[in-house]
Amino acid sequence: MYKYDQYDQAMVDARVEEFRDQTRRRIAGHMNDDQFKPLRLKNGLYLQLHAYMLRVAIPYGTFNAVQMRKLAHIARTYDRGYGHFTTRQNIQYNWIKLEQAPDILAELATVEMHAIQTSGESIRNVSADQYAGAAADEIIDPRPWAETIRQMTNFMPEFSYLPRKFKIAVIASKVDRAALRWHDFALRIVRNEAGEIGFEVYAGGGMGRTPFIAHKIRDFLPTTQIFSYLQAVLRVWNRNARRDNIHKQRMKILVHELGQEEFSRQVEEAFTHFLSLGQDFPQAEYDRIAAYFTPPPFEQGLSEDLDLSDPAFAAWVRLQTVAHQAPGYAIANISLKPVGGIPGDISADQMDRVADLAERFSFGEIRATHAQNLVLPHVRKIDLPALWQELRAVGLADANLDLVTDIIACPGLDYCSLANARSIPVAQKIAERFADLERQEDIGELKIKISGCINACGHHHAGNIGILGVDKKGTENYQLLLGGSGDEETSQAKITGPGFDEDGVVNALERAVDHYRAVRQPGERFIDTYRRVGMDGFKEAIYV
C-alpha cells in the first residue's frame, strides 16, 4: 500500500489547518453559508437532513487495519457509533458537528487519510477495481496509476472550479468491476501489440438525471502522458461547458452536444499543446509509487483443500470468495448487506473486528467496493474457516454477493436532503422477501440498485433491476427499471411504466423475478434473459 512521505503529509496537514481556519471564520460570521458551502464541500462536509455529513476518501478503495481502527474511533467519538460505505468506495458519517469537523480531519491525517475533494465541483476520489493487486485476471495492478492520478489531481489550480463534479475510474482487467463507463473519465490499462502498457480512455459517462455511457475516446495512451491528457480533457470541458444550468454542466452533456468525434478532436489538440509544455510526471515517479504496491510475501506450497462439510460455510465460500492470483489464496468478500440491515452500514465495533481480521488474515489490507461491501484481499484458503467463524461472531458472515439481497441503496430520504423517497426501507423489504438462500441461489446473479432521487447515487440506471424514488404529490413513489449493467457490457436500465408505492414496488419486482425464472434458458442470468427477450414480456408480468 502507498505510504505518505513528508510531502504528502505536509499537504494533508496544511489542508486540515486551512479548513480549521475556514470553519473558524464561518462560525465567527466572517463568511455566510453561500461562501462557506463550496469550501466545506471540497472537504467532504455536507449539510444533510439531520446534521452535517462527512465523506472520507478511501483512495481507489484500498485501506488498512490502522486506518479502519481510526474510522471506528471517529464513529464512536464524533458520530453515533457507525459509518456508511458508499457507492464510490468512500465512507460517510451522518451526525457530524461543524465545530468538530477540523478535529476529525486532523485525526484522519494521522493515519494518512483525508476528505479532500470528496464532494463539490471537483475532481473526486479515484475509484478502482476492488480486487486490484489480488485479482487473477488483471494484467497489472492499477492502483499505482490511481495513486499517481490522486496526486496529480489534488489541489489542481486551473480546475479549482469545474462546471461540476468529475469522477475517474481505473481498472486493469477485461472484466469490469468498477462500473468504468459510468464515469466522467475512465482508464482501462491494456497492453498494445508491442507489449507496452497504456490506457484505453473513456469519457463522458455519468448517471444523474441525464445518464450517458462513456465513449471510448482513445485506444492507447502511453501511461506517462496521462497528466497532459487529463489536463487537455479538463480544459476542453472547463472552457466549453455551460454555466447557466447546473443540470447541464457535467462533462457527459458536453461530449454529447459536441459529439464524441469533435470532443476527441478538441482534446487531442489541447493534448498536443500540453505535451509541448513538458509537465508530465516522469516514469521514475510512477516507479517510486508502484514500489509501494509490490505484492505481499505470499507463502508458497499452501494447501488448496477446504473442508466444506458445513453447508453454511460451503455457501459462504461459494458465494463470497473469488479466485486470487496467488495459489493457495482467496479474495474474501465481507457482505454489508445482512437481510433487514442497512446496505453499507457498519458499526464501530464491527469496524474494529474487521481491522483485527485484516491483520490476522490479510496482511492488514482491506478494500471497499462500489457495491458497498468490504473485501479482505489476500486470505490463505486454509484460514477461510477461521475467518468465517470470526465474521459470524460479529454478524458479518452473510453469503449473498451479487445475489438478489446484495442490494445497493443510497441513503435516501432517511438521511439525504435531496431525496424524494426513502431507499433503505425498500431494500430491507426486498431482502426480507427473498431471504431464503436457496431461492436466492436459484435466481442467481441479480444486481438491484436503489436511488432515492434522480441524482442516482444508488446507481439505479446500472441496475439489472433499478428502483428510483420519486415524489408523487408529497408521497413516496417508486419507478421500476430493468436491464441496466455496470459491467463490461454496460447498459442503461429502462423504466417499465407507472410507478408504485413501497409495497407495490416490492411486489412488482418479485413478479419480474418470477417471470425471469419462467422464461430463462439454462445458464442465463437475469440480465441475459432480459437482453434476449426484451421488456415487453416483463412488462406484462409486472402490470398484471
Binding site: R26, I27, G29, N32, D33, L47, Q48, L49, H50, A51, Y52, R80, N94, W95, I96, K97, L98, E99, I342, L413, D414, Y415, S417, A419, R422, I424, P425, Q428, G474, T475, E476
Partner: protein, 98 residues
Amino acid sequence: MKVLTGNDLKTGAVTWWDGVQWSLHVEDAVDVGDHADAIMAREQAAQRVNGPYAIDAEKTADGVRPAHIKDRIRALGPTVRPDLTLKPADPEIGNWVI
C-alpha cells in the same frame, strides 16, 4: 400554519423556531404568520441558524405535524434507526412519519 425550520450552525442539529429561539423539538414550533422572512433574515445574520426555510404544518392533537414527509423525517430522525430518533422509546413512532 407556517413554521420555520433550519439547522444549528455549529452542531448541524435540526431546529424549529419557537417564538423566542430555536428548539430541537417540532412540538415547540409556532405559527409565524407572515413574519417568516423577517425572522429568518435576523436569525441568519446573527448566526443562530443555518439555511432556514418556512414550511406548512398542521396543529394536531399530538403537536405540530409538518405537511411534507421530508420535514417529518427531519423532525424525528431516520426511520430506519428508531434508536437514533428523538423518540427512541416509542416503537410505533415511525408511523408518525408516514
